[in-house]
Amino acid sequence: MPGDQYITAYCIIENNLVTKNGKTIFENRNAGLNEFLESAYHHAAISYPKFYKMDNLSKLGFLSAEYLLRDSFQREKYTESEVSVILSNASSSLDTDLKYQNSIREIPSPALFVYTLPNIVIGEICIRNHFKGENAFFVFKLFDATFIAGYVNDLFRNQGLRACVCGWVELLEENYQAVLYLVEKEPSAWSEIFSAENINKIYPKNNG
């Protein structure tokens, strides 16, 4: 069901490619995952040393949010508590859980342990952007546009939300896919009504 909100930007990171609103922003075709994530970080020309300490799921989510919000999000229009982050994926934090399990064989790594929850990626995005609105991380087998549309629209209608970063941030070993949507009350120059149908139109079909 169409709502009163709009997708004002979207960002997809997969197959060593970063696209925003359908346009290629960055690619590094032959890199492994770690190298790709670091190269995408350098391309973004951000100085945020904490990036290097994040696990790969958080790096992926952090970068997706950076590219999504850059030149699209006018943060001065909102108070910190009016902006939410609602994410989902299939593998939860399993990538880091396995690495942590390996570290237990010798000395458990505290730096790995703190990333053994999927919602930490939301925390990293919120800390970076000073977002203090409602946040939640859901685990589904496949991306569920109907659920995300229903949940986020409800936050807009009933919780005073005025902007939201939502979508899918999936990563396990070398396989990854991030699809983030910026949802706002006001339409932008490029925008689509925030509905399950339009979310699915943007979501890459070959990976669904």
Binding site: S47, P49, Y52, K53, E106, I107, S109, P110, A111, V114
Partner: protein, 87 residues
């Protein structure tokens, strides 16, 4: 002592993923936390792991932490004083 401090700087950068830093960026007496390198509580735990992994030293009394991890020099002094005491 100089060699130990030089090694420690490399190990700290590696253990804490401080990829924007080079060993020469860390002063011997520069505070590691707050106004110095800006390390946090998780980094403190990783420094304890570093002592255990690289020098086989267990920090048995947590209250010693702030003194031991004040700077690279205080870490090196602690290592010198405790190496060989704990396996």
């Amino acid at each position: 002592m100089d060699k130990l401090m030089a090694d420690l700087k490399k190990q700290i950068i590696n253990q804490l993923n401080l990829k924007d830093l080079k060993p020469e960026d860390i002063g011997d007496d520069q505070p590691l936390f707050v106004e110095g390198l800006g390390l946090d509580s998780i980094d403190a735990l990783e420094l304890i792991v570093l002592l255990q992994q690289e020098y086989k030293i267990k920090l048995s009394n947590a209250e010693e932490g702030p003194k031991v991890f004040q700077s690279v020099r205080t870490m090196a002094e602690y290592i010198k004083a405790h190496q060989g005491q704990t396996a």
